[in-house]
């Protein structure tokens, strides 16, 4: 099969109505995929945003944060999945844990660097005008660091969406199913079709962040 044939085959696979309904259908797999991605991202954000902001604000523990984050970045996602599968069992946990480990470092490091990097004059003025520590963090540092924080979230979101295909290895579906099953059955249209869906999803996430940025980053910071 040449490339044109492959593309045609993948297109046929993608547009086949049978692939768009039922538990094995694309909408269902897509929802599973998004569900795992969102869950991992939310948990990672709940860990990394407060921790990064706090460390950036106080300036204490910055070295530890960056070291741990870099270490976490070096963990192979699939290896962690297999490890958690052996420790626990097949299911949601072995999928979510590696995804959290993947998503946390970029959010953590960007939030920390963003808050820490806020112009000292801004912090000094805020303190000198009588803002409390929490006030400075929430009303000055976080809004000013928001472009960098969003960048971290976006990086994490795209990585998670692209990597959530590993859910198929733990037997809980997602778009990875088409790729894993396709490879096992030598059903290449399914592999390519599944991959295309994942890529499309990553692009959509990217675009969504353009919208989010417009909504939450002050116009005064968009230059």
């Amino acid at each position: 099969m040449n490339l044109a044939d492959q593309i045609r085959a993948a297109w046929t696979w993608l547009t086949a109505s049978a692939h768009w309904s039922g538990g094995e259908g694309i909408p269902h797999r897509l929802l599973e995929h998004l569900g795992y991605s969102a869950l991992a991202l939310v948990i990672a954000a709940l860990i990394a945003l407060p921790l990064g902001a706090l460390v950036g604000h106080t300036g204490r523990g910055g070295f530890a944060v960056v070291t741990v984050a870099n270490f976490a970045r070096a963990i192979p996602t699939l290896g962690l999945l297999l490890l958690v599968v052996t420790v626990t069992s097949i299911g949601l946990t072995p999928v979510i844990i590696p995804l959290i480990a993947l998503a946390t470092p970029p959010i953590l490091v960007n939030t920390y660097e963003g808050v820490r990097g806020v112009d000292p004059d801004i912090k000094d003025a805020a303190r000198g005008m009588g803002m409390t520590g929490t006030g400075i963090l929430l009303k000055a540092e976080v809004p000013v660091a928001m472009p960098l924080i969003l960048l971290g979230l976006r990086t994490a979101a795209i990585q998670v969406v692209a990597t959530a295909t590993i859910a198929a290895y733990a037997g809980i579906g997602g778009l990875g199913r088409y790729i894993v099953d396709g490879l096992a059955r030598k059903d290449y249209p399914s592999v390519v079709g599944g991959s295309v869906l994942v890529v499309l999803l990553a692009v959509i996430v990217q675009l969504a962040f353009v919208g989010i940025r417009r909504a939450v980053v002050s116009r005064g910071l968009r230059n």
Binding site: D119, D121, I122, D124, A125, A126, R127, G128, M129, G130, M131, T132, G135, A140, P143, V144, M146, S218, R219, G220, L221, N223
Partner: protein
């Protein structure tokens, strides 16, 4: 009046930033703290609103020890202006100016109305209200910084080299407007600069600091120029040459302004009597 009594600031490594300082900053006047870098003038200023805590001694504002008050509340009652303005880049000009009123829980509309009035007062077009700091020049940003410090009408203002980061022409106009503004508002102002010309021009009194945080002389600009207390002060004023130039400029400034002396000058003498 702001009163320093035997105030010392010693850091953990043994460095003495301010050494046994006793100083009065009279109500309704501009007191300029001037000196070379490392003389403790900024530390002195920042101890007034407790951004830095003294190691020993007391600082009172109108008889009340600043350390008896909650730092955040104390600071909301004291205007604060810094060199690069330190405006919030994510807030519009009007919201920047209204920062302290918001902190004090003012009604949003009232805070904004006040902010708009202050824009006019410091010579800013109210059309700029909805703009963001990056859209303003350095001089305009500094005006916003002054307006922001004035927003809640504090009796005391602390200004740390507020006009140092702008070019000489803009600085001159900012200084002149500042003098005009002060003749209307009569705030108690502590003003830090390293620029002796600025000190002579703006101060009702000038406090000259030496490296190591020692107060070398505190007197009116005229006394300072007529009788430098010691060699250090004489040197800081630029020696005989520098003194001549400063005296000459001072005479020029007097001629520039009709009515000669600044209107608020008689009060200085009245206060001293």
């Amino acid at each position: 009046m702001i009163q320093f009594d035997g105030v010392t600031k010693r850091y953990a490594d043994g460095t003495v930033a301010v050494d046994d300082l006793t100083l009065q900053i009279p109500t309704g006047q501009i007191t300029v703290l001037v000196g070379p870098s490392g003389c403790g003038k900024t530390t002195t200023l920042r101890m007034i609103n407790r951004l830095i805590e003294p190691t020993s001694g007391t600082i009172t504002i109108d008889g009340e020890d600043v350390r008896a008050q909650d730092p955040a509340r104390l600071r909301r009652g004291i205007g604060y202006v810094i060199q690069h303005a330190g405006l919030f880049p994510h807030r519009t000009i009007v919201d920047n100016i209204a920062t302290v009123p918001y902190l004090l829980g003012w009604d949003k509309k009232k805070a904004r109305t006040t902010a708009l009035e202050l824009m006019e007062r410091v010579g800013l077009d109210t059309k700029m209200a909805k703009r963001y700091p990056y859209q303003l020049s350095g001089g305009q940003q500094q005006r916003v910084g002054v307006a922001r410090a004035l927003a809640a009408d504090p009796p005391v203002m602390l200004m740390d080299e507020p006009f140092s980061a702008v070019d000489p022409i803009v600085r001159k106009s900012l200084q002149e407007e500042f003098i005009r503004l002060q003749s209307e508002l009569r705030k108690t102002i502590a003003f830090v600069t390293h620029d002796i010309d600025e000190a002579i021009k703006l101060g009702h009194t000038v406090a000259v600091f030496k490296v190591g945080g020692v107060l070398a002389q505190h007197s009116t600009p005229d006394e300072l120029l007529a009788e430098p207390a010691d060699d250090f002060v004489r040197e800081f004023l630029g020696g005989e040459k520098g003194l001549k130039r400063l005296r000459f400029n001072r005479d020029l400034d007097r001629q520039d302004e009709p009515g000669a002396e600044r209107q608020d000058k008689p009060d200085v003498e009245a206060a001293e009597r």
